[in-house]
């Protein structure tokens, strides 16, 4: 139990990957194979996201420092020369903590890798579905066994 509880996420990842792998191997329906591939993929994404998670950490967006923000507002009316153009005033570097507390923000790197992986994943799912549809046009079936029988006929 002491081994399992802190590492429960990895166990779920492995179960999802096993489910996806089994489905890609054993299911005879081509669409089910595609869904299995997507489940395998979400398993991998879950792995990356959960290794990037940190205890008591917030989302990876740097928040403005409340103290500086209040000071900035108080000084704004009397400030004779704004140091940036008005449209750029939203993200001045001095409003933000420097440097931000690394332990309070989750890991952004694993997230961006997986963000692009999801979009590429849907594109590859589309390719898989297109192939399945083409096979259906030829054989009028998604079932592997039927397709094989059609071919040997």
């Amino acid at each position: 139990m002491e081994e399992i509880v802190p590492k429960f996420n990895y166990i779920v990842v492995v179960i999802l990957m096993m489910t996806g792998l089994w489905s890609m191997l054993a299911q005879s329906n081509l669409i089910k194979k595609c869904i299995g591939m997507a489940i395998f993929q979400t398993g991998i994404i879950l792995f990356f996201i959960s290794i990037g998670a940190k205890d008591n950490a917030s989302i990876p967006i740097v928040a403005k420092e409340p103290v500086n923000q209040a000071l900035g507002q108080a000084h704004a009316p009397e400030g004779s020369q704004p140091q940036a153009k008005p449209e750029l005033a939203a993200a001045k570097a001095k409003d933000y903590p420097n440097p931000p507390d690394v332990n309070k923000l989750t890991n952004p790197l694993t997230q961006i890798l997986m963000l692009t992986a999801i979009v590429v994943g849907v594109a590859t799912l589309g390719v898989g579905l297109a192939l399945a549809q083409k096979v259906y046009q030829q054989h009028n079936s998604f079932d592997e066994d039927e397709i094989l029988e059609n071919q040997t006929k």
């Binding site: 996420n9 299911q27 089910k32 950490a57 989302i59 750029l88 549809q133 079932d143």
Partner: protein, 345 residues
């Protein structure tokens, strides 16, 4: 009992997600399988939000739960719904199960070597990632670190991922596209028997989507433009823009949308997005910098050096958004119309 490093809700969702995944695969009806798979994706989204990955959850909600479900439904619409296997293949299924379990056991045997869930000092959290967190404001003035890493620090990666989406779109065209004028094969019509109830007839759905679509598109533009400060960016905004047009295809008719967005336009605009991204990189080279080093664009963009990167990120996000939007529309249309671009779901 050790202290729980995770909250119970996460554990609950993780168990539910496994159940949903298995249910989606066990369904005998492909339409139900697609819907359960959509629910599975939404649960995944909740889990990722709980782990602090809001951008990923946003993408999964738009892509995994939204567009991929629609793709599966569009495929099923032109083909068959039943997933009843002709032969049960019990022996083979058991054999595949043994292989899957063996693979799982092999993976689980590495379990003691992994860092605990949520450990801030684990190798993945303590090596390169802190650099991004500490320098995003200094380098690019972008508070959303995911956006900075996506479009700036790892800009090459994202450029090629966008290219992959474009190439996948071309691949689907070359697999399925049929010129119906030249088609000599005696292929059956798109739908053998039209459905008894035509969903495009519903006045309520048509009027509701007529009202919803402009708001969806404005929201998507906001997601792209505000990706520097909040979860969002080119991928999410592009998918939502694509989904708004797909909604029109579903609620009205494919023909209705094709009057505006012809096949040629969609294909050209898909390529245009990748081109915008690549052109920003080439522009950096012309200004005397490295490829995709936005600092070189400083003379032509407003603000100081960091703002050059800020606006460079915005430009490439627009490119990503255009490619993703039109590739999603194109893939949907070709799947739904069985490659003929005439009529469909």
């Amino acid at each position: 009992m050790p202290e729980l490093p995770i909250w119970q809700f996460d554990t609950l969702f993780l168990i539910a997600v496994v159940l949903f995944g298995i249910t989606a695969l066990a369904m005998q009806n492909l339409m139900s399988a697609a819907i359960v798979f959509g629910a599975y994706s939404f649960l995944m989204c909740l889990i990722w939000t709980g782990m602090g990955a809001v951008d990923v959850a946003f993408t999964e909600a738009a892509v995994g739960a939204g567009v991929s479900t629609v793709f599966i439904v569009a495929t099923i619409y032109n083909t068959g719904v039943s997933a009843k296997p002709k032969h049960p293949r019990v022996g083979f299924k058991l054999f595949a199960g043994v292989i899957a379990v063996a693979t799982g056991a092999l993976l689980l045997s590495a379990l003691p070597d992994f860092p605990a869930w949520g450990d801030p000092q684990s190798p993945v959290n303590a090596t390169v990632a802190p650099y991004y967190i500490e320098n995003t404001i200094e380098d690019a003035r972008v508070p959303n670190i995911v956006t900075t890493v996506l479009a700036d620090y790892r800009g090459f990666d994202t450029l090629l991922e966008t290219a992959v989406v474009f190439i996948a779109c071309i691949a689907i065209y070359s697999i399925l596209r049929v010129d119906s004028a030249k088609a000599t094969v005696d292929e059956p019509d798109i739908i053998a028997s039209p459905p008894a109830y035509d969903p495009t007839d519903s006045l309520i759905i048509r009027q509701a989507s007529r009202i919803m679509v402009p708001f969806m598109q404005i929201f998507a533009l906001y997601v792209i433009a505000h990706g520097h400060y909040s979860p969002g960016g080119g991928f999410q905004g592009g998918v939502i823009l694509g989904a708004s047009v797909i909604l029109l295809c579903i609620s009205f008719d494919l023909k209705f949308v094709l009057r505006q967005w012809t096949e040629k336009k969609i294909m050209l605009l898909t390529a245009l997005g990748v081109l915008i991204y690549a052109a920003v990189g080439v522009a950096c080279m012309f200004m005397g910098g490295d490829y995709l080093n936005y600092n070189a664009l400083d003379p032509v963009l407003p603000g100081d050096m960091a703002y050059a990167r800020y606006y460079g990120i915005l430009l490439v996000e627009i490119g990503v958004g255009v490619t993703v939007m039109f590739s999603m529309i194109g893939i949907y249309m070709i799947l739904a119309s069985n490659g003929r671009f005439k009529r469909g779901l």
